[in-house]
């Protein structure tokens, strides 16, 4: 089961080390991880996707809660969250294929950021499934390099973690 977890932590050096250390020693596997400071600069938000059983999520949440640097934990499911991931793809593009790639970008609402004689660099912010689809469509042109942020997410509606 894929589980999205949002964790508010103290924005201090060494905190990420404590979180990831806990994952490795308790045998939890992180699929993606995104960290950044929040509206309160003393607090960072970590959004992560883990592949984990239901009981294990309980235990993981409790273990995370034991870390003094952890302030709040929220499990998010698809129904109640708005989530996005950003991807930058450098794709091979010759004068003859550029047009096709541009069409694909238009369909997926991706944006072209950079161009060279042999490549295009495009960006897309979307849900992970759409990002995967986009990558699949770009594959035949030859992907040179990919950078993905990992999912970030907040609760839908007016609810917040603060």
């Amino acid at each position: 089961m894929k589980q999205v977890i949002s964790v508010l932590v103290e924005n201090q050096p060494g905190v990420l080390n404590k979180i990831t250390g806990l994952f490795s020693r308790r045998g939890f596997n992180i699929e993606s991880l995104a960290v950044s400071v929040t509206e309160d600069e003393s607090v960072s938000r970590i959004t992560m996707i883990i592949d984990i059983g239901h009981n294990a999520v309980d235990q993981l949440e409790k273990q995370l809660n034991k870390l003094i640097c952890v302030l709040k934990i929220k499990r998010l499911d698809n129904v109640e969250m708005t989530g996005r991931e950003l991807i930058l793809v450098k794709v091979s593009a010759t004068p003859s294929t550029r047009r096709n790639i541009k069409d694909l970008c238009d369909i997926m609402h991706a944006k072209i950021d950079d161009i060279s004689a042999a490549t295009l660099t495009v960006e897309l912010a979307d849900v992970p499934q759409q990002i995967n689809l986009f990558l699949e469509m770009l594959q035949p042109f030859g992907i040179v390099e990919v950078a993905r942020t990992g999912l970030i997410a907040v609760q839908k509606g007016s609810a917040s973690m603060n």
């Binding site: 932590v9 050096p13 060494g14 009981n55 640097c69």
Partner: protein, 543 residues
């Protein structure tokens, strides 16, 4: 008030009412030692190796209920402390470890005696601090003591770069702590409490299982009342030993892979297991899923993460044991399990009184332990090391009102002697007896020096089988080769003791046991009683 960071560290310790600290100085902690020299209320105990500073602080903490404090220098001083910190973490002992560190502006350059100690200990410590602003020292110390001693106790490390110790600060000690990510639950949930009472009332064969948490919460009295008022029989884990006297009729014994037969039988037949400050570690309960198949479980613990980690409870209850048990007792839980209780009491009583026949010219560990138990004062503290000696002491040395200390979680060999020194410093008026083997003793016998220097009247019962007995036994059980476990050329322990100025005696016959123990206990000063034991003795097999 203006002072240096180092002076403020000492002031913080004084504010926290610290009377003893166990340490070993070095270059990066020198400013602190200079400030400590001027303290009138704190006594420094110089250990012989840093790991033992943590063990002594652990023994001290377990007796006083306050945080034990140890202080070492950076680099190797700090890394030597690691095993002691891990030991305290696994046994939930409140410890404050202060480490010197190289200049903060040089951190990360791998300079002489620089090590990332906060990073190194992070998997097995409750919390760590690295001081980057000297002005933070008072707040950090206040928080560290709060974190170490509240909730589930544990070690906290404060790493203090030398320039932070030398910097000037305006000192004031905070009155309160406010750590937004740390709010341990103290009171039990009322609804859950009612469910506990209800579940107990319905059980036919309930069994209380007490762990080390009872001592962390200072809830011995509440545990006793729970047992006596409900008449529910009680077993303990190794860490829970001594919560009721061994002779108490409701005390059925110690569970676990090395535990008492009746206690384990009770565990396999109960229909309601009431876990009280016990974390269902594998040595205590090897197959928790087996127990859940025939039994409901009530799990009372201060650490929510322990609930459901090793066993899925029917009724979980999170909170401070002392507080929770008080609230529980106020609800007057009652149980109708007289028949079950009497059956277990009869079995346990027979087991308690079975002793192997004396064999002349040998010392049988079980008889030795029973004899020690018979002769020590009722409030004596017994500190057992790790290995066969630990199992024999745990199973056959009857406890009365005293404490039984050992490292049940990490199983750190060499723990007993330094821990006992900490115990003796905490309660000099009470008897302190170490039980250890010849293997572990040689890991920490350098602390005999500290013991003598500090005038600690610790009695050491050394079981010498010239072997690493437990490993040898495990090899024997698994039909493996006896390999790497022989210590045939052990030193002359009498001469060794003599070199440190410790009186000693060596016995090898059952006939000498009683008089030798009496002589040891009557002697005014530290004493080493070496007991020659056959390497063929087992700890696993029941008599």
């Amino acid at each position: 008030m203006n002072m240096t960071g180092a002076q403020s560290m000492v002031r913080c310790l004084e504010e926290e009412d610290v009377s003893h600290i166990f340490g070993y100085p070095g270059a990066t902690i020198c400013p602190f030692y200079e400030a400590l020299y001027h303290s009138e209320s704190i006594r420094h105990i110089l250990v012989r190796q840093e790991q033992n500073a943590a063990h002594m602080a652990s023994g001290y903490a377990r007796i006083t209920g306050k945080a034990g404090v140890c202080v070492v220098t950076s680099g190797p001083g700090a890394t030597n402390l690691i095993t002691g910190i891990a030991t305290a973490y696994m046994d939930s002992i409140p410890l404050i470890a202060i480490t010197g560190q190289v200049q903060s502006y040089l951190l990360g350059r791998d300079i002489f005696q620089e090590i990332d100690i906060t990073g190194a200990v992070s998997p097995f410590i409750k919390h760590t601090y690295l001081i980057k602003k000297a002005a933070d020292i008072p707040r950090v110390f206040k928080e560290a003591f709060h974190i170490a001693t509240t909730g589930r106790p544990g070690p906290v490390l404060i790493d203090v770069p030398i320039d932070m110790q030398e910097a000037e600060i305006d000192f004031s000690y905070p009155e309160e702590v406010n750590i937004r990510g740390y709010k341990p639950t103290v009171n039990g949930n009322l609804k859950q409490l009612k469910k506990v009472v209800e579940t107990i009332g319905k059980a036919e064969r309930p069994l209380i299982c007490v762990g080390g948490g009872a001592f962390c919460a200072k809830a011995q009295e509440q545990v006793r009342r729970l047992c006596e008022e409900t008449k529910i029989p009680m077993v303990t884990t190794m860490m829970g030993l001594g919560v009721l006297p061994t002779s108490h009729p409701l005390n059925i014994g110690m569970i676990g892979s090395f535990g008492h037969k009746t206690a384990n039988m009770a565990l396999s037949q109960t229909d309601l297991l009431i876990l009280v400050g016990a974390r269902v570690g594998d040595r205590a309960i090897t197959a928790p899923e087996k127990i859940s198949s025939h039994s409901k479980t009530i799990h009372i613990d201060i650490d929510p993460a322990e609930i459901g980690k090793n066993v899925s409870p029917t009724v979980p209850l999170v909170g401070d044991l002392r507080v929770v048990l008080e609230s529980l007792l106020a609800e007057h839980p009652s149980s109708n399990c007289t028949q079950w209780s009497e059956y277990l009491q009869k079995e346990a009583d027979a087991e308690k009184h079975t002793m192997p026949e004396a064999r002349p010219s040998t010392i049988q560990p079980k008889r030795l332990m029973a004899e020690i138990g018979k002769q020590i004062f009722p409030d004596a503290c017994v500190v057992a090391d790790v290995g066969q000696n630990q199992i024999w002491a745990a199973k056959y040395l009857p406890m009365q009102q005293g404490r039984f200390l050992t490292t049940g979680g990490l199983g750190t060999m060499g723990y007993a002697l330094p821990a006992a020194i900490g115990v003796k410093i905490a309660q000099p008026e009470k008897q302190t007896v170490v039980v250890c083997g010849d293997g572990a003793f040689q890991m920490t016998n350098n602390e005999l020096s500290t013991m003598v220097e500090q005038g600690c009247d610790v009695k050491i019962v050394l079981l010498n089988n010239r072997t690493l007995g437990m490993v040898c036994e495990l090899q024997r059980i698994a039909k493996r080769h006896k390999f790497g476990v022989a210590l045939p050329d052990t030193p002359d322990f009498g001469k060794l003791a003599d070199a440190f100025g410790v009186k000693s005696r060596r016995i090898s016959q059952d006939e000498d046991m009683a008089s030798a123990i009496a002589e040891m206990l009557a002697y005014d000063g530290p004493y080493l009683l070496e007991c020659v034991v056959s390497e063929a003795e087992n700890s696993k097999v029941n008599m």
